[in-house]
Each structure stands twice: as structure tokens, then as C-alpha cells.
């Protein structure tokens, strides 16, 4: 079972913590907003992805199980 990352672009205000915690997947654009280099999270990074999602001050980084992406 895989995990997928999404950014809620309305909630995101560009704190940039996610790119600090998950530089393997997330980098910042010139304005400080996250760019996901891949939506799926490799198994070894799931713990880091969870921490990044939990740390986001605006809860804009969403980590979903692959199947239940659309509720």
C-alpha cells in the first residue's frame, strides 16, 4: 500500500518547513511554495513524509493512502 502527497494550494502560505523535512521529494519554487517532484512516496520515506505533513503549520500538506485518494 503506497502513500501519496498532495498540497492544498489555498491553505499553503509558503512556510517551507516541508522542504526542510522532506528535501528528497519537495523543493521550493522562487516564491517559497512547495513543488512535489513525485506524488508517490517511496517506502523508505513514509515516516519522513508523515512528519512533514504533521509539522505543516497550515496543514496544507496532505498524505493520503493511495486507494482512498478520492473520498
Amino acid at each position: 500500500m503506497g502513500y501519496e502527497l498532495r498540497v492544498n494550494p489555498i491553505a499553503c502560505t509558503g512556510h517551507g518547513l516541508c522542504a526542510e523535512l522532506l528535501p528528497e521529494i519537495i523543493e521550493l519554487d522562487p516564491w517559497g511554495y512547495p513543488i512535489l517532484m513525485s506524488a508517490t512516496v517511496p517506502g523508505g520515506l513514509v515516516m519522513h513524509a508523515k512528519r512533514a505533513a504533521a509539522t505543516c503549520p497550515t496543514l496544507a500538506l496532505l498524505l493520503d493512502r493511495s486507494e482512498d485518494r478520492r473520498r
Binding site: N8, P9, I10, C12, D29, P30, W31, Y33
Partner: protein, 468 residues
């Protein structure tokens, strides 16, 4: 079921259909409307026909949304009808495209076609509420629609009362999630999805949002049947469509075409080009530039335009003459779109002004050899990164400009602006026009709490150049 059985009248198998019997001088009243098209069929009166049969009919007709996305209307109705809870119908008459007039034409001249469509859609999805949304600043339009709704209430036509709503006049406020958010008491800005509006919309209920032209087609399909609807147009894109043709043509205006009519023929319907052609902007400000020689034979329907790199959008065709600078025109539009951001998503809020700067530099001061590269590097930083399609629309326009006017762009990049940048601008951009004509303000600052402009405020008329 044949068309005759459905309506008891002889159907029109030619064009115009929607615009048949239109008076460009006055609004068509209920009695004239019924004389023209026949009474509202039984579906609308909660009577003999089962409502889901109407959805079958719409699915068979192949009607697609005419607001821009081109989604199959029948499928949308089906998913709303089967959703959890009582449905809501929202008719979207808040035409966001500055150069488009088709929805306004329908609402100001043929309101009963649209209102018939709303009532039919409401009975098909068993809705318990129905809204018709137009820009709140258009007080004259709201008043005339109020009269039309009252006429129908007196005749007992609408079992679900149609409520009029004036929404903010921003470009993005006519996006469907923005309309739903406004009706829910919000500021009228696009929202993050999923859930989509057809699952959870107004008051959390399944909501059918349709463009007013789509609903007007529905009013005729319910009368004449699906076979009649498919009687013109292409098998893949049946029926007719309203298009707004403007720019360097002899008779700019709204025309009804059979879907799939070649773009060249559409331009000729509007009086033909009055200057040497350079390119056509098709679809709208989220559309694409097509060089004239490519565009002329392209069939005007979603599939045909997609194959040529454009889109049907809201059915817009703007004819750009050779003497205009396409990059300068694009720069003005991108600047306008940048100003119309809802300011919610970073890549749109910061990316679009940066893109507007880059395109403006290339058009008006030249790029010193780096202009095109700078634009090309900005586009992927913006595309697909907003909650709605607003940023993507702007990048699509820029992308198509760099493709269609590649040689021109390189000239600008290396040698500076061409002579065309000094020509009077062609594409209507509301902010600019306001400056020349005395402040037709698109923006309502602050929270947009539904405050309507006073009686003295400007109400835009048809097309460009007649905003007062």
C-alpha cells in the same frame, strides 16, 4: 420518440435555433416565447413524463457544457441525480470572459429559454432549490430577470422557484466552485477539491452547475428530442453553439453556428476580416492563438480545436490583424489575468505577475536574447499548481503565443519591440477600458459582502467599445 410527439409542433431543423425569432431590440416575453417554441413540456410541470427520462434524452442528445469545460451534460445530471440528498441547480450566467457576450445576449433577450432550462434541469435531478447567478453589478439585467421570473410565477411554470443571485464581478468568481462558495456565504473564490460541487455543493448538497447556454439548449431538446438536436453539427459534437466573434471583422457579434463549422466560415459569418489576418484567438483568455493559415480550416468544436492546440472555451473568436503585435496583446491579457487572481494560491498570486512582467518586457522593451527563455522557465512553475484552472489558463495562452508567433517572439527577443506595439489595443481588458471611459471598476474591494453598486454605476453593454 419523435420530435413531433414531444412538442406537437414542427421543429426547426435549420439555424438559428436558440436565436430563432430573437428581437435585438426588446426582451422576449413569456407569451412570445411560448408562441415561438411552444409551451414548457410536461417534465417541467411535474406531470406525465418521468424526470429521469429527461436525463436519458439529454445523454442521447450528446449535449455538452457550453461554459468552457465541455463536460457531457447528461452525465453531470446523472451524477447529481444519484447523489445523496436533495439536489440544487445553479445556472451560471456570470460570464467571466471580457470579450464574450453570448450568455448576456441570452439573458437579456431570451430569458425564458434559460429559465425553461433551469426548471427542466431542476425536475430532472429532483432539485429542491434553483439559482440563476449573474454579476451583481448588472442591476438592469437583474431587474429584467426578476420581471421574467415573476411572469412565470404568475403562470405557475416553475414548481421550484428560481432565485436570482448577483455574484462578484471577478474573472474567477464565475468558476463553479467559486459560485457555490458564494451561495454558501463565502467571498466567491474557487475552493480546493475534492469534493467537487456535484458531490457536495450548495448547503453541502449535490449541485448541478450549468452554463446558461447549456440550459437554453436543454429547453429545446426537451421540446424537440435528441434526434432533432443531433440533426445539425458533427456526430462527435452535435447541435449548435453560440460564438462571439470580435476583433478585425466587419460585423462583430454573437452568432449561432452548427458545431464543427470551420473557423474561416465563422469569421466570414461575422462580415469577414477587414484587414490582413495574422491569427485568431479561440476559446477566450484561457484559449489559444492559432495562426490564420492554420486556423482557417479548423472545425469549431471541442475535438477539432483541441487537435489544433486550442479549445472551445466559451465560444470566442477574436480576429487579430497583421498590423497588431500579438505579443503586446498577449501581455495586456496576461497582466489582466494576473490582476484577477483570487490571491489564494502562491504560484498564481506570485507567478502570474512574474509571467506578466516577462511577457510585457518581451513585447514592449525586447528581451535582449533572454526573454523567451525566462518565460519558458516560468510556465512550468505556475502550471497545475493552483486550486482552480486560472493559472493554467494564463500559461496556456502564453504557451500558444510563443508557438504561434515564434518568429515574432524571436524578433522581439533580439531586436526589441515591433511597430505593432504602438497600435491601439484590440483585445478588451476591463481595467484598461475603465481608464479611458471613466472608471468602470471591476473590483469590489474588501470582503465582497454582496454590496451592489449604486444606481449611477456603469452597466456594461454589448461587446467592446460600448461599455457605456
Amino acid at each position: 420518440m419523435t420530435a413531433l410527439e414531444l412538442s406537437g409542433r414542427r421543429p426547426v431543423l435549420r439555424l438559428p435555433r436558440l436565436l430563432d425569432g430573437i428581437s435585438y431590440y426588446t426582451v422576449t416575453g413569456l407569451r412570445e416565447h411560448e408562441r415561438q417554441h411552444g409551451p414548457l413540456p410536461a417534465w417541467g410541470r411535474g406531470g406525465r413524463q418521468r424526470p429521469d427520462r429527461l436525463i436519458d434524452l439529454v445523454e442521447r442528445s450528446g449535449l455538452t457544457g457550453r461554459g468552457g469545460a465541455g463536460f457531457p451534460t447528461g452525465r453531470k445530471m446523472r451524477s447529481v441525480a444519484t447523489g445523496a440528498g436533495k439536489a440544487v441547480v445553479v445556472a451560471n450566467g456570470a460570464e467571466g470572459e471580457p470579450a464574450s457576450c453570448k450568455d448576456r445576449l441570452l439573458l437579456t433577450r431570451l430569458p425564458h429559454l434559460v429559465l425553461d432550462g433551469i426548471t427542466l434541469a431542476a425536475s430532472a435531478v429532483r432539485a429542491s432549490a434553483a439559482y440563476l447567478c449573474v454579476h451583481g453589478r448588472e442591476t438592469d439585467l437583474l431587474a429584467s430577470l426578476e420581471y421574467a421570473v415573476a411572469e412565470r410565477a404568475a403562470a405557475g411554470l416553475d414548481p421550484v422557484p428560481i432565485q436570482l443571485a448577483g455574484i462578484p464581478g471577478r474573472y474567477v468568481s464565475s468558476e463553479q466552485s467559486a459560485i457555490v462558495q458564494y451561495l454558501n456565504g463565502g467571498p466567491g473564490k474557487p475552493t480546493f477539491s475534492p469534493p467537487s460541487t456535484h458531490e457536495r455543493g450548495v448547503n453541502g448538497r449535490p449541485t448541478l452547475v450549468n452554463n446558461v447556454e447549456t440550459l437554453a439548449h436543454l429547453a429545446l431538446i426537451a421540446r424537440h428530442g435528441d434526434r432533432w438536436f443531433r440533426g445539425i453539427g458533427l456526430p462527435s459534437a452535435p447541435g449548435s453553439a453560440l460564438v462571439t466573434v470580435s476583433g478585425a471583422v466587419g460585423r462583430p457579434g454573437v452568432y449561432e453556428i452548427a458545431q464543427g463549422t470551420p473557423l474561416g466560415q465563422v469569421v466570414m459569418m461575422a462580415g469577414g476580416p477587414v484587414e490582413r489576418l495574422q491569427a485568431l484567438l479561440v476559446g477566450g483568455y484561457f484559449g489559444a492563438w492559432l495562426p490564420a493559415e492554420v486556423a482557417w480550416k479548423v472545425p469549431m468544436c471541442q475535438a477539432g480545436l483541441r487537435a489544433a492546440g486550442g479549445s472551445m472555451g466559451a465560444g470566442l473568436v477574436i480576429v487579430l490583424p497583421d498590423s497588431s503585435c500579438a505579443l503586446a496583446e498577449t501581455a495586456r491579457v496576461v497582466r489582466y489575468l494576473a490582476g484577477e487572481t483570487a490571491g489564494q494560491c502562491g504560484p498564481c498570486m506570485f507567478g502570474l505577475p512574474a509571467l506578466a512582467d516577462a511577457v510585457t518586457d518581451l513585447a514592449y522593451t525586447g528581451g535582449r536574447g533572454r526573454g523567451i527563455d525566462e518565460i519558458a522557465s516560468l510556465v512550468p512553475l505556475i502550471e497545475g499548481r493552483g486550486a482552480c484552472r486560472h493559472p493554467d489558463g494564463a500559461t496556456q495562452l502564453v504557451r500558444s503565443a510563443l508557438w504561434a508567433f515564434e518568429a515574432d517572439a524571436r524578433w522581439h527577443d533580439h531586436r526589441g519591440p515591433c511597430a505593432g506595439v504602438r497600435r491601439a489595443p484590440l483585445l478588451p481588458v476591463p481595467g484598461d477600458e475603465g481608464d479611458w471611459l471613466g472608471g468602470e471598476d471591476e473590483w469590489w474591494p474588501g470582503g465582497d459582502d454582496g454590496d451592489w453598486p449604486g444606481a449611477g454605476d456603469a452597466v456594461p453593454g454589448y461587446g467592446q467599445g460600448t461599455w457605456r
